[in-house]
Subunit: 398 residues, 2 copies
């Protein structure tokens, strides 16, 4: 067997956990708080059925849906993104600034492909999203973890690391962050955009949860404060439409989109047209707003149940974050508890979570006593049952 490229070796550490969590998702006996899936009850099955039934005919858009498309995406969906997702955020975009991609994560791949050379430094929040770290590592970048607190990146530390490492990119999940559930404050959003401009650094703003807000005040994206084009706003349609349709978008200055067009072409030609059309119609028919309300109601309830479970079932010394939206909370157990080792025991108790260790950059300060637990994919009564199992497991380690 021929030798793999050396970038592949950088990626190995987390694959087993991710694989396990994918498997846990398909075992009905396991109550999994491990994945990042939204509630299945929030998936627009009936709406997609109705739209598919109408558009999938030769006189409608059936031929377009099944034929080759354009690497930048169909105009209808890009326009819907502008009108219904970007404009309400206070940012001005036109069709030349928006590209459709095959799911939220593809943006990190395409933008890494566009910018990263081996050895380039990417500054990341600590903790941050494991799959993004995997992507940056695949491109042989060096991820440097920066300090965070309840308001996101600690700006003094971020600027100090900029001066020390001369990074190519800052990667940030500003709203209901994965894994912590934290939100970057308004002042810090502005500061991050300005640091990108000042030091000529790409700010990759990954904001898949921003629409899933259940409490607190709406904040503009970092991109809103960007005056030089250094910030690239990447988003997913998975949470507000449907993960299985693999749709996301990038909003950036035109010269960047033009180059991403080439990178996308050399990645997989274009995003699937059928689901682009279904999603465009979903927006055009005014279905998004009432659907979003329903999504928020379902997940707000789940968040509330999970928060209550942590308070009432978990040991007093447990620290946790109360998220204003999204799908996750972050639980910190007493320091001696290793949540990676605990996972084996959790499996036996038929409950799964994501060990916190996976969200830290290897070789840098790691907290072994944390876990990400997601309330998105589990019904309220199952959250209670699963949290009881998990609390039982935790107690074994105290």
């Amino acid at each position: 067997m021929a030798k793999f490229a050396k970038r592949i070796a950088y990626m190995q550490s987390t694959a087993d956990v991710i694989r396990y969590l994918f498997e846990a998702m398909t075992d009905p006996d396991i109550i999994s708080f491990g994945g990042g899936a939204p509630a299945k009850e929030a998936l627009p099955v009936e709406l997609v059925h109705e739209i598919a039934n109408e558009v999938l005919t030769r006189d409608q858009r059936g031929v377009q849906a099944l034929q080759y498309g354009n690497p930048i995406g169909i105009p209808d969906l890009r326009q819907a993104v502008i009108d219904q997702l970007l404009t309400p955020k206070g940012v001005k975009a036109d069709l030349k600034n928006v590209m459709i991609v095959a799911g939220g994560m593809e943006s990190m791949n395409l933008i890494s492909q566009l910018y990263l050379e081996p050895g380039d430094v990417v500054l990341v929040e600590s903790p941050t999203f494991v799959q993004s770290i995997q992507i940056f590592k695949m491109f042989e970048a060096q991820c440097i973890a920066c300090e965070t607190d309840d308001n996101g990146f600690v700006i003094e530390d971020l600027e100090a690391k900029i001066k020390q490492y001369h990074p190519k990119m800052i990667y940030v999940i500003p709203t209901f962050q994965n894994p912590s559930g934290r939100t970057t404050s308004l002042e810090r959003r502005k500061a991050i955009a300005e640091l990108g401009s000042q030091y000529d650094i790409v700010v990759l703003e990954d904001d898949p949860y921003c629409e899933m807000r259940y409490s607190g005040e709406v904040l503009p994206p970092i991109k809103y404060f960007d005056e030089t084009g250094h910030t690239i706003f990447a988003n997913s349609l998975s949470k507000i439409f449907a993960p299985g349709t693999r749709l996301g978008y990038i909003y950036a200055d035109e010269p960047i989109i033009r180059k991403l067009y080439e990178v996308k072409t050399a990645t997989n030609s274009h995003t699937n047209v059928l689901t682009q059309i279904l999603c465009a119609e979903f927006f055009k028919r005014g279905l998004y707003e009432p659907h979003l309300k329903m999504i928020r109601d379902i997940h707000r309830e789940r968040r509330d149940v999970m928060m209550e479970c942590i308070k009432t079932m978990f040991p007093n010394e447990t620290k946790f974050i109360y998220p204003d939206g999204g799908l996750f909370t972050w639980v910190e157990l007493p320091e001696h508890v290793d949540t990676t080792l605990m996972l084996e025991n959790a499996k036996q108790h038929k409950v799964a979570y994501m060990p916190g260790k996976e969200f830290f950059v290897e070789g840098q300060p790691i907290k072994n006593n944390c876990m990400r637990i997601s309330f998105g994919g589990v019904a309220p009564d199952r959250i209670e049952a699963g949290m009881k199992r998990l609390a039982d497991v935790v107690r074994l380690y105290l």
Copy 2:
């Protein structure tokens, strides 16, 4: 604006032509032989409509279709690929050997990501498919063009270049090659597999057209002759199902699939589930075989019309290839005719083709007098009209 990675500069040359051809596809006045699209009449709009209507409900597979999936693809579709596409080719596969990807081209990206270091050599047919060259260049590989004749790679030249360049990969489109329409002979298929094994080289077999055979004898893939796992078989479901659904598959030894799982995860998480389910049902319901017959009938007629047009309308000194299948023929005009320059004139005559130059590796022997013309996406009467326009343009240059 921050600086792009240097790999991006390697990719610039063909983007304008590809962009132009995408645009030509959407202008109804232009008869375009430039793209690689199959006949719109061959797209299974009604079948997909019927299947979507049945599966997109909560009690059926609607929830699965819209929820996150597995990076390797859904078992149903992988099994259908094994039973209905691989087994008939004489190759033995099980689920561990097959991965679903987001369209045929994504395989080239994922496999490049898995194997190619900057500076690695990829041996390619000359001419070969422009988009694959773009991908290899994005990974900073050096593409070395090898001699071909009517039976594919000239094996003596291929082996000489192996000894000279110590390549990492051989890239080959064995059946109804893009752009030439040529098919690699049985003996050479065996020889290429053996060269891969002997010299420890990845043989990337890209075979998207193999099912679209209109005449001549069926040949086994190169992978059939592979005894060491060096050959990776990549295929598209675009031509036999629908390009817009972005589906393809990779068939390889298990250790390779396991690594591709990680690369796919770090590219776009997984392929869209909705269209995987639609396509799996298409196969499971026995719809593939009659549909394939229809596809072949439609494209055989178009091939025949185009061949007749070349013979009767084009100058006598025109050389061309008679393809036994696929979507393309390759036309060689008198040596002084530059088909890239001629494209400007063709635009004015409202006809498009792909200049042959785009299919040669830059800095290596190029033929400026060739063009790829596709009969796939154009109805027979439009083929006649378009070929008449094109013959008029050609005559201006004689």
